[in-house]
Symmetry: C2
Subunit: 164 residues, 2 copies
Amino acid sequence: MIFTTKAEYGVRLLVELGRQANDAPVSLKAIAENEGLPLAYLERIVALLKRADLVESTRGAHGGYRLARDPESVTMDEVVLALEGSVAPMSCFVDETDDGRVLCSHVDDGEACATKFLWLRVQGGVTEALRRTTLAELVAFSAKQDVAQSAETLGSALPLHSAA
Amino acid sequence: MIFTTKAEYGVRLLVELGRQANDAPVSLKAIAENEGLPLAYLERIVALLKRADLVESTRGAHGGYRLARDPESVTMDEVVLALEGSVAPMSCFVDETDDGRVLCSHVDDGEACATKFLWLRVQGGVTEALRRTTLAELVAFSAKQDVAQSAETLGSALPLHSAA
DNA sequence: CTTAATCCTACCAATGCGGTAGGAGAAACC
DNA sequence: GGTTTCTCCTACCGCATTGGTAGGATTAAG
Ligand code: FES
Ligand code: FES
């Protein structure tokens, strides 16, 4: 259960844009150098964000990208959805009907698989966690920088140990 | 963000075991045929469950597997952890210190990456959803599905969720 | 007209995943 | 004892995806 680096890099890109308070567009090159990420790969990632109208672009010299909306109104579920294409805990969840209903591919004679119940809960937990996190929050967090991640950070986190 | 089929098959295997109320061990072959899953693959999966003491085995003819604990006490976070090895929304989360603290691999001069805050929340949401779901719950759910199915075949259809 | 930037698309190596194959022990039955 | 039926173990393999690169076309500032 691991998001791809598209989500990681994309979110980081947005945070980087959010840190620039002014309206001047920021070039990808600057972001790539700032975050130590491959420029060519970032180009493909930012295209996803633009397609979702989360980012505006200005072409040509002195061009770049800027946020299309107020950082406080940008929730992470939109962002991750735009970057990853779907927020699904199991592969059968990627194909959804128009209403967002999951169509269970493991159906035998009208009997839904027992796991559907579980994955729906997990999906709900993820999207809820994503939805209640705004871009502005992440920007503020990154501004705090070397302040130790105190109870505020770890409060809602319940880390698990890997036994293996 | 997708779990592998190890989680899917493993949970389904446990549910199948949970449906057997008696103490007689169930062979993997029976489960594989019942669920339409490859037997050889299930063997490797059930090994993970046994290593986590979620399942007991009896070798030899008429042998098989049975639940090692009461289904009500088995929470899905243990199960998924045993099957997947870790519950991590990002690859940097798989390596943890002894205390379960995440060691951030993208650290620039003491500054943690802005995304850590987000992924910690997501991880928390997932583990919370997993922890509050017990195996007994899933067994009950799958039993309800059967009732719905048999009722459907008898002509008195009771719609659990109407199809779109 | 040069330069700096966004765009677009094809390509590529590596990794992991889902699955297979072939056995070696262990217990029940005849 | 031999056969059958299981659990166990480990190596192998095709395939899809991921993360990343290459190369160029387009647009606009200076
Ligand atoms: S096939 Fe995954 S929910 Fe039914
Ligand atoms: S590198 Fe992922 S949390 Fe910092």
